[in-house]
């Protein structure tokens, strides 16, 4: 419940700074809800895969400085 406030603010901040939308997901899952966990992870993975590789906040150390 404390985390709900913190995540609300954090999510707004990251979106405000222009982090790509759709890469941050929140869900209530109890430790007893294995199936919901499985389902959510699958959905999130599919959603993020569909967006393709991230382009923002990415550090590529292979780049020659």
């Amino acid at each position: 419940m404390f985390a709900r406030r913190r995540f609300a603010v954090l999510k707004n901040l990251l979106e405000y700074a222009g982090l790509e939308p759709g890469r941050l997901h929140f869900s209530w899952i109890s430790s007893a809800e294995a199936q919901k966990f499985q389902q959510t992870v699958t959905e999130v993975t599919e959603a993020v895969k569909a967006l393709g590789p991230a382009t923002r906040m990415i550090k590529d150390i292979r780049k020659v400085a």
Binding site: K59, D60, I61, R62, V64, A65
Partner: protein
Amino acid sequence: MSSKILSKDKLDAFLQGLKGARDVFAPAMVEGKVGWAAVEQASDMLTEFSNTEMSPKDFFFPQTECMMRFKNASGDPEGMIMMAEPALARPRALMNIRPCDAKAFQVLDLIFVQDEMTNDLYWRDKRERTACIGLACNDPCPTCFCTSVNCGPHHEAGLDLLLVDLGDKYLVKVLNDKGAELAKDLPAAAAGDEAKAAELKIAAEAKITGGVSMDQVKSREVMELYEAGHWDRVQESCLNCGTCTFCCPTCHCFDIQDEVQGESGRRVRNWDTCMSWLFTMHGTGHNPRGTKKDRVRQRFMHKFKYIPVKRGGEIGCVGCGRCVQLCPVNIDVRRVVNDMNA
């Protein structure tokens, strides 16, 4: 060495000549700030400016610099072995360096390159492949105190050429063979031009009023300066941020970090600051400079005592005044040195 003349209407031709073999950088207006930028033509360059907000040390000692790379694959025969990063691809020239900043290059040469073991090839390669062309200060700032610290508004150390603004032309002082090569096509200066430059030098030096005294700092023992009472007051307001060290043309402390990304790995160095408690922290939790006072004192002692002791009297400060202008709590180095000297 001899002096040449560069007429201001020939400045662009001179610049284009340099650009034939080198990337050229100079102080320029960069989004409202006086900074260093790559220049294409003479009109890109600022000629009327006090100094750039940040020192040009990062041309030789970038804030982040990849030192070596490795293949992050322990099974691979070449895996985990560090390989040096290639040196600077194309030679460079820096135009209109203020003499204080150039003097700082010379001070840092003494620190980065000492002997066979203490031989920083990253610094040295870039120094060797960069031509340094200075622009003498005819109007020093109120925060300048270069004349107190083995430097001056027309100082020549660390430069290949020094330009002195004579109005419609520059007197070009040739300071070494590299400079002679750069200025070989310029006409020779007349005796009157040299005399005028000499007058400007005296006039510029006279404009520097906020000097500091160093005689006692020089003669006192390390421990006497270290244990003096004034450090308690100097450190009070200090935030222990890194502003003074990062804007300083002679501060050269760094940290080394490893980074990996999949099969790529690198070792990279970043500027570090003696103001940070982490800088000296032992793995055991013991910290030899554990208090803010220790850290503040370290910075001034390093510049004004430790470097002179180790480097034949050279001072680790060139009097550029950047820290005076930028310190968020106005810890004025001139005041601190005068306290050390009191």
